[in-house]
Symmetry: none
């Protein structure tokens, strides 16, 4: 893989525009009853035509066989090494609820849990608490005040919450207090670096107070913390690619990720047509657009084959409008696969097609898992997608004389 | 390539079973007279059908253009970086004759050689000595006794032998005494690390004694040592993949390699049907099987095109029985290519097919060098095969949230 520093050296600002249409969880699998995947079943003439004009392939977001979470799979798509640039669990939780993280914050993913009389954990998820109860408990926990450190306690959903520490001299080099199993007591946070001893004390001090606040609550009488993380030191897309990137996404986590890599996050509505409206309106102001569609993944994760087919057909109807904007480079792909047959993310390679008037089109004429991978790109690392787009947009200078 | 530490973090023990059928030296080349490779000539309807159900490709064991030995090519197939995990020549010799290496042993490959009156080497292989004479000489050399160090001298075949030093404070940081050419005297062993000075003395002391023992022998009047090596520090497959792996192989070197990576080596007979019997019998006790077939390589190395075709047809008849065991993931590949047209190992990519009910099958319908590489895996590093199998067996947790 080429180092980002080299890409940064070669990148040039030009008027050409790149559009990444990222269909979350795009890749599917044959449905056992019909023997066809969602893409093979869907009527998607515009996507098929698009494949015919494009260079086609299938990406490995992380590496063959590895199922990615949305964080690393998006980083790969934006050209970052998803193993080197590891976004901590706490930060993903914060991004997921649009929490405005500041540069020295330390974020934790928190679970409301149940402990028995002896202090052992009997349920790590407090009976999968109702979100409403979670909100009430977070409000109580906000009364905790620590000397010289601000603490934010925010509801995610169900038993899931976010705890953020803000102040001077904090550190994310502390261990989880969640032992990840029942029958044992919660752990104390321990420093994993000598400088983090004060931070471990702060965390344990907060948890002692929280135990008092939650005492007598049923079932959520304990709080478990894991995934301590601050904002990663990550070069931004404007720095690397000299782009002015805009992000259009309906879900907080994707907006948060986009912000993390230096995109401007554009206000938009809930449907793909709302998102298109935003794209059209802001078309002149950016030279890179990340256009995220969540519905493909939701249908896949729900195990709803027919719904995923329907969502794909709806997206198909959007393609002509996107083409009319005449992007110089137009990529249609996903961040990972989410076959409805598996009801979740999977390791399968992700359909990919790149259209540009500088591409030598393949002889692929259908937009499916089986056909796209036969294109000239074959199976390739997602991390290459961004530099391929930059090349076709003629935004990369010659390497060497 | 993904670090093994990451794979180790993601690996989970599950009931699913993986079968690797490794046909040694599988890949061939068109025979100049018929214009077809061994696989193209063979009638292998079961393998063809298998390809049709699988994801297909061709692996590079080390890297494009590089011809591998069996040691590194097998390591790659088991997911190890074959350049990082270098198994020394001495250890390969020991594995090859089933010598029970202990953790601090230092092994050397030895050549019986001929030196002239001036002490210069006239033949590095002593006229390719008969194995029987080799055995007699090894018996003589076993009379040498060194203070505080045990020495084992074992016949391989022809002029080839194994010398193993066992004791405290030994080191493999010593140079070869085999100058790799005639017309010069044997070299003295030199330490390549300051701690290895005593070891060099031990080796040179042994060789002085050996020279006395072999004095007057004709033609084998000298011993040359090379490839000093101890057991490599290699994480085992149970450690990395949390598998309980069983190995079925008829040749000592493959059994030795399997043991080195933490497999349990199962007792078996000489034919592929004996091996199948073992597989069937031990099916319930392991979740990964390495099933090695040597005959393909032997035919290739012998330059016997027709024999290799015949062996492939015999293996084909085994496939239905293997499928009836219903492995969750079934890989058919080789460790390297051994075209009979070249009478030896080659750098050609190795036919590969992976079947699982989680795979999106390719449109490949013949099991040959030319057709498999057109599958969705294309040409890829053998080192990815294991994690691909782990993914399809649903034994890898999601990476990142």
């Amino acid at each position: 893989m080429v180092p980002l520093a080299l890409i940064q050296n070669l990148s040039e600002q030009t008027p050409s525009k790149i559009l990444f249409l990222v269909l979350d969880g795009l890749g599917g699998m044959p449905h056992p009853e019909v023997g066809k995947s969602e893409l093979e079943m869907a009527r998607i003439p515009n996507l098929d035509r698009f494949a015919g004009l494009s260079i086609c392939g299938a990406t490995d977001p992380i590496a063959p066989g590895i199922t990615p979470g949305s964080g690393p799979s998006h980083l790969a798509l934006f050209g970052y090494n998803p193993i080197k640039y590891d976004i901590g669990r706490g930060v993903l939780s914060a991004l997921g609820i649009d929490f405005p993280i500041e540069s020295n914050d330390v974020c934790f993913r928190a679970n409301f849990a149940t402990v028995d009389k002896r202090g052992d954990i009997s349920d790590r998820r407090a009976g999968r608490l109702a979100t409403e109860v979670n909100r009430e408990l977070c409000a109580l926990l906000r009364h905790i005040h620590l000397p010289e450190v601000e603490v934010f306690v925010e509801t995610e959903s169900g038993h899931r919450a976010l705890v953020v520490f803000r102040g001077e001299g904090l550190s994310d080099y502390v261990t989880d207090t969640d032992p990840q199993r029942a029958g044992v007591p919660p752990l104390a946070a321990e420093p994993t670096h000598e400088d983090a001893a004060p931070m471990a004390q702060i965390v344990n001090g907060f948890l002692s107070e929280a135990a008092l606040v939650l005492q007598g609550q049923d079932p959520a009488n304990a709080l478990l913390l894991r995934g301590a993380a601050g904002l990663p030191a990550i070069p931004t897309m404007p720095q690397i690619y000299k782009l002015t990137p805009g992000a259009i996404a309906t879900y907080p986590m994707y907006r948060g990720l986009a912000k993390l890599v230096g995109m401007e996050v554009l206000e938009t509505g809930d449907t793909i047509w709302d998102e298109f409206e935003t794209l059209q309106q802001d078309w002149d102001d950016y030279d890179f657009f990340y256009f995220h569609v969540k519905a493909t993944d939701t249908a896949g994760e729900d195990g709803d084959f027919n719904k995923k087919v329907q969502v794909l057909e709806e997206i198909d109807s959007l393609i002509p409008a996107l083409l009319r904007l005449q992007p110089d480079v137009f990529v249609i792909t996903g961040d990972h696969s989410s076959p409805s047959a598996l009801s979740g993310h999977s390791w399968h390679p992700v359909p990919f097609a790149l259209y540009s008037n500088t591409c030598i089109s393949d002889s692929v004429s259908e937009f499916t898992e089986r056909t796209l991978v036969q294109g000239s790109l074959g199976r390739f690392p997602a991390q290459d997608a961004m530099q391929l787009a930059m090349g076709h947009a003629q935004k990369l200078a010659k390497y060497g004389a």
